[in-house]
Symmetry: C2
Subunit: 323 residues, 2 copies
């Protein structure tokens, strides 16, 4: 059994070894640029850790793990066009560096590239792997559309927001875990428990991301307030909007656009309202509830105990519960 | 055996019966809008006619035929963004009607939808079908990138142009024919001959499209000169540019932008130079050479004679050789 660090190295080596053609340069260089950006490679690590619950020879699962990562990076590439985001992991985004047309087309090439990797799954398992991948890939598109829909809406229900992040974020974790389990030969019962684990973990992970952006993390020293300054409808903002008075609601919707305020003032005044309605506590409770459900589902999985413990330790680390 | 008209009906019925979810509306309505636009459905008809050379039960090939058509319509949807084209088949393009972000994302959904249809191929054949589809899908992206590259170039070699239209247009015909043959159970030898047939037909078909746009077709009463007014580097323009004097070359590159000229004058002066270098005759010779190669390859295919005759008659009709 390999730990998450060893698996991460395997994935990075595999991705670095994918050699795309030299020409046309403007189609393939942006693809390599996007994949070089790195990141935590969480999704392919999930594929391999899920596979490792039931099998040993990780090589068999590497192409599908890479397929999930290439697809994830395609979604970032196209989302950056739609969100007009200038930077990604500290570097210019593809549309920003090469233009929108190049970004659209190289993103398309990345989808196709992800299916080329997926097609390397063992032939007997390919139909099931394809069914899973196609399902979650379409759900990710649905999540992105809902996300864009919400921007132009006055109010969003918490349940609508949870559904959106489930589609946009969690289902790809679910797909990664499911494909790893299919390749490892897991039975239906284990697959269903692992899917629930991944879905609930994904929600807890995204909600924690929302929380850290507004309240920070001393350990990570993460910059605080980015979502607030962008006026993003995060779980915290939605909870506050749904609890606030009409006056406060108007304020929450306009503070980030108020030219007369400094960034710090915008953040402080927004957090003031968040605190008034205990948004932090509420969010922490939701995170704990989701993460506990995830661990409970994982505990029900019948697989190699050592590998199960490794996966549990990995997600606890991601949630900052490792000390 | 069914004729091309019956097969077209089968395909249109199948496409019309694909029911995409109701929500998110802005993700799925544009997909349906793009597929409703119709068109000749040549590629799926090719899948079924190729299948019909070796088998009878067309139902087995319908999902893959639809996959090729959905993918083709995805390429049109994203190309229309890149080309900033306001109209497609007489209706507003998706980006023009719903905006660029909706067009990018719904195009992405169409790629995934095409793979969902492809995944319905018989399990035993799925790996080969996927390999073929992935290969041609990536080549189509390469063709689109070369097409965009050429716009900003002074000169393009004829061989470069032929390679570009082979990638952008012919390979999808090749993929359609190959997938139909794989599903029908054709052997390697027949598949290779059919691929050559489709590739050469695709080139003849695209070159004829270039020719008709500049010289028209009395039978079709097609509007003449669209490519010339857009300053597009068609086969005719490239042949003229490569034969012309430096002065004529400058003229050919600037005529379509000359505010002082009427559309008719722009077209007339361009055709004057085309005629000076016998571009029409040269193009017709290239079309005839390609189409003859296509028919020669088709004649070498060992399959049901009646079905072969039907496919031959179909492509002769498409090339206007049916009288």
């Amino acid at each position: 059994m390999m730990d998450s660090q060893q698996l991460l190295c395997k994935i990075n080596d595999y991705l670095a070894a994918l050699d795309y053609p030299a020409e046309p340069r403007l189609l393939y260089r942006p693809v390599e640029y996007a994949l070089e950006a790195g990141g935590k490679r969480l999704r392919p690590v999930f594929v391999l850790m899920s596979y490792g619950l039931f099998a040993e020879d990780y090589e068999r699962a590497l192409p599908c793990a890479a397929a999930i990562e290439v697809f994830h990076n395609f979604t970032l590439l196209h989302d950056d066009i739609m969100d007009n985001a200038p930077l990604r992991r500290g570097r210019p985004t593809v549309w920003n560096r090469w233009g929108e047309n190049v970004a659209i087309l190289s993103g398309d090439a990345m989808i196709i590239s992800s299916y080329s990797l997926l097609a390397q799954a063992p032939a007997a398992l390919l139909p099931r792997v394809m069914e899973c991948f196609n399902r979650v890939a379409m759900q990710v598109c649905e999540g992105q559309q809902y996300d864009m829909d919400f921007e132009s809406r006055q109010t969003v229900e918490e349940s609508e927001y949870i559904n959106m992040i489930a589609l946009k974020t969690s289902v790809l974790f679910e797909g990664a875990i499911e494909i790893g389990a299919i390749l490892g030969g897991a039975d239906r019962r284990n697959i269903n428990r692992l899917r629930e684990f991944a879905l609930e973990f994904g929600l807890a992970f995204q909600l924690q991301d929302d929380l850290l952006d507004s309240y920070g993390d001393s350990r990570l020293g993460k910059s605080v307030g980015g979502d607030i300054l962008e006026g993003k409808k995060t779980y915290l903002m939605i909870s506050a909007l749904n609890a606030a008075t009409p006056e406060e609601r108007t304020l929450l919707g306009s503070l980030h656009r108020d030219e007369s305020l400094s960034a710090d003032e915008k953040i402080a005044r927004t957090l003031e309202i968040f605190n008034r309605y205990e948004v932090k506590r509420k969010t922490e409770e939701e995170i704990n509830r989701r993460f506990a459900k995830a661990l409970a589902a994982l505990a029900e999985v019948d697989a190699d105990p050592e590998a199960l413990a490794g996966l549990k330790a990995f997600v606890e680390g991601l949630m900052g519960r490792d000390k």
